[in-house]
């Protein structure tokens, strides 16, 4: 049973790290879906934020400046999404796709023109975001589990709780859910449904921005072309798997993180082909989509016809 040995603290830490960007995107996607917006543009928002974050950190030499610019890039991309789909009436899915494709090309173009690099960019003058060490945990049993993560990771746990409260226990939460389920009922109750949609889209932009800087400034300080690598889509799947609820999405993100972390560890144990391991998140996504399909199938299982 030597493979069981991989279940240790470092697996847990790697799971949390993998789950974080997915959960950040997933929370945003869940709020958007709850308000009736299918936001597939999160992938692009994340990628833009990753690039702008690293560029700003490079030029300013400050991690905080990099973070702020990165999040702003996520928000600006979200505003572009909102203007195109709400104000100009374009199809949400097409706008999302356009943003994703544009972001891949746009960041590559800027990578080559600003930094004269192809593929990736890294530089000693880029300041990354440091992990947080809790003094009071030093030399306690919890130090290895709870201390020493970067800020976004703590944020994800905090958000899971806050969003849960907002979703079920505030007027804002019921207003968002009513907007998604029956906009006319919401309008009738004096809720401005357009404002709710803007709110969730901007919120998802902020989280995608944080997710983007998490990729480029936390843990590693580098940008690679297309470094969001489908996490925007996986986050969307996580929110769907979690029924667009905060806790459900969080759970689904941890599940994806676990798959990722196990893959990485097994690589060490069995010397598997690294390309096979890189495939794990996407294979898991397919599995989850199948599970979602089955769940829907079960929901409409026809009631049996009684025997005469």
């Amino acid at each position: 049973m030597e493979w069981l040995e991989i279940f240790d603290i470092s697996l847990f830490r790697s799971l949390i790290r993998s789950a974080t960007p997915i959960a950040l995107i997933g929370f945003g996607a869940a709020m958007c879906s709850a308000s009736g917006v299918l936001n597939i543009g999160l992938e692009g928002k994340m990628l833009n934020a990753a690039f702008v974050g690293i560029a700003a950190s490079y030029y300013s030499g400050s991690a905080l400046t990099g973070f702020i610019w990165g999040v702003s890039a996520g928000v600006l991309t979200a505003i572009l999404f909102g203007v195109l789909s709400f104000n100009l009436g374009a199809d949400e899915v097409l706008v999302g796709l356009a943003i994703n494709i544009f972001s891949i090309a746009g960041t590559r173009y800027l990578l080559e023109t600003l930094f004269k690099r192809r593929g990736f960019f890294s530089d000693p003058s880029i300041q990354g975001i440091d992990p947080i060490n809790f003094e009071f945990l030093v030399d306690t049993r919890f130090e290895k589990i709870l201390s020493g993560y970067t800020p976004s990771i703590y944020l994800v746990f905090f958000l899971a709780i806050v969003l849960y409260l907002v979703y079920y226990k505030t007027r804002l939460g019921t207003a968002i859910r009513a907007t998604g389920e029956n906009p006319e009922a919401a309008e009738d109750a004096g809720i401005n449904t357009l404002r709710m949609k803007w709110l969730t889209v901007i919120f998802s932009g902020v989280l995608a921005g944080i997710g983007g800087t998490f990729l480029s400034l936390e843990n590693m300080t580098l940008f690679t072309e297309g470094m969001s690598a489908g996490k925007g889509y996986i986050g969307l799947v996580a929110s769907s798997f979690g029924n667009n609820t905060p806790i459900g999405t969080f759970g689904a993100s941890l599940f994806f993180g676990l798959g990722d972390a196990i893959g990485i560890r097994l690589q060490g144990v069995y010397e598997l082909d690294s390309r096979l391991i890189l495939m794990v998140p996407y294979a898991l996504t397919v599995v989850v989509l199948i599970l979602i399909g089955i769940r829907q199938r079960i929901r409409v299982r026809p009631v049996p016809i009684p025997e005469q």
């Binding site: 226990k169 009922a185 009738d188 109750a189 005469q308």
Partner: protein
Amino acid sequence: MTQNNIETAVEVKNITKSYPGVTANDSVDFKVLKGEIHALVGENGAGKSTLVKILYGIEQPDSGEIFINDKPVEINKVDKAIELGIGMVHQEFHLVPSFTAAENIGLGQEPRNSRGFIDWDELNSEVSNIAKKYGLDVDPKLRMIDASVGIQQRTEILKTLYRNANILILDEPTAVLTPQETDELFEVIRSLVDEGKTVIFITHKLREVMEISDRVTVMRDGKVQGVSNTKDTSPEELAKLMVGREVFMQVEKEEAKPTEKVLEVKNLWVHDSRGLLAVKNLSLDVHKGEIVGIAGVDGNGQTELVEALSGLRPTSKGEVIFDGKNIESISPRKRRRAGLAHVPEDRANTGLNLKLDIWENLVGTSYFRSPLSKGGIISMKNVVDHSNNLREKFDIRTPGVFVRTGSLSGGNQQKVVIARELSEDPLLTIASQPTRGVDIGNIEAIHKQLVEIRDSGKAVLLVSAELDEVMSVADRVAVIYEGEIVEWVNPKDVDQQQMGLYMAGIKD
């Protein structure tokens, strides 16, 4: 009455509202006294909903003034209407399906505790209290997906009361109810008025006007035709104002002469889209030379039955025999080929493509056959000739067949569907809610057409939620309740009261 002698709850003066191509409200004056039940009647398309949507801030008038409690007001959004004490129950309910009754009722105004979180227990008990006060039986914790239509409607009424509405607008509330549920609703309306509320009650059923209202306003073509005290008027007079001429409610027809059986349904079971049983062990037959009617409140399996017969929905068990052959598993196109026509209930989505031209809709089921197509290529000349023939024969009022179908009135759109369906001289025509949203003039024409089909020796299966329609057009009527036929009746031998009981599933 209570507050400072204000007599008038609502007064609108000279309201005009146009949509592209129609003046939905044309210089409308409308006045509702405090504490009264005011019926607003008119045919489909008369402009009733438009008028009350203006009062509720959903639509803005092009011109005109509104006074609430004698004060001039501008109602530019729903919030403003709620603030003025106006509440509205729409023709189509506006409920969030996964929310409970209380969650729907409190939406946007939920009571909050000191930490800013919603106090759900408080909301539930507030809702129970109001429900008790007005005799509206609703469980606050019942989810709307699991609620009957009657309960959904009561929830909608509670929603307005929770927001302290003093002026309640009910837009065609009885359209979805059985006669017994309607009586219950009337009880509620009376208790609302006893508590000092004012009620605007929209309907096109004159019997209801006579029974419940104090005063009545009649609209036609966007204009007010008359206002009077209900006790000083009669259904005949109101009908004349509504239609603009004498109406003959009775359909002229002779005794049916049924011959051989054309459709036989044997122990049919059908599931709906949610996987529930919508049609349960249903059997019926239809003969040439007769019109068989299916009466019942909407949502009792009629939709699924018709879809199963026309091939749009799989049957789960049982047999459908048409002209001597089993057809349960053959395609809709093959069923048409065999002589089965279908006028669907949802004209706008199933019956027509409103974005296409009239000619395209007219040949939608036959364009691929000679002489409309030759060698796989459509012959425009033949198609246009064919379309123009149908247009003439079925009196479709349009400038031409190269006109977008969506620009026609509801009645003329329905004529396009009927023309297409009858153009192939079918053995059996299944007509589902064929006059829904159609004006009275065209209703008469459609009823006459159905009788003509019958008299030419073909068969008709008429499914309608309008009790008067089934009873006057059909020769034999089956009452459907929860997917089962409760009773077969001869329309000449039963009264409204008895039909109401059957429609509620009650059999002596």
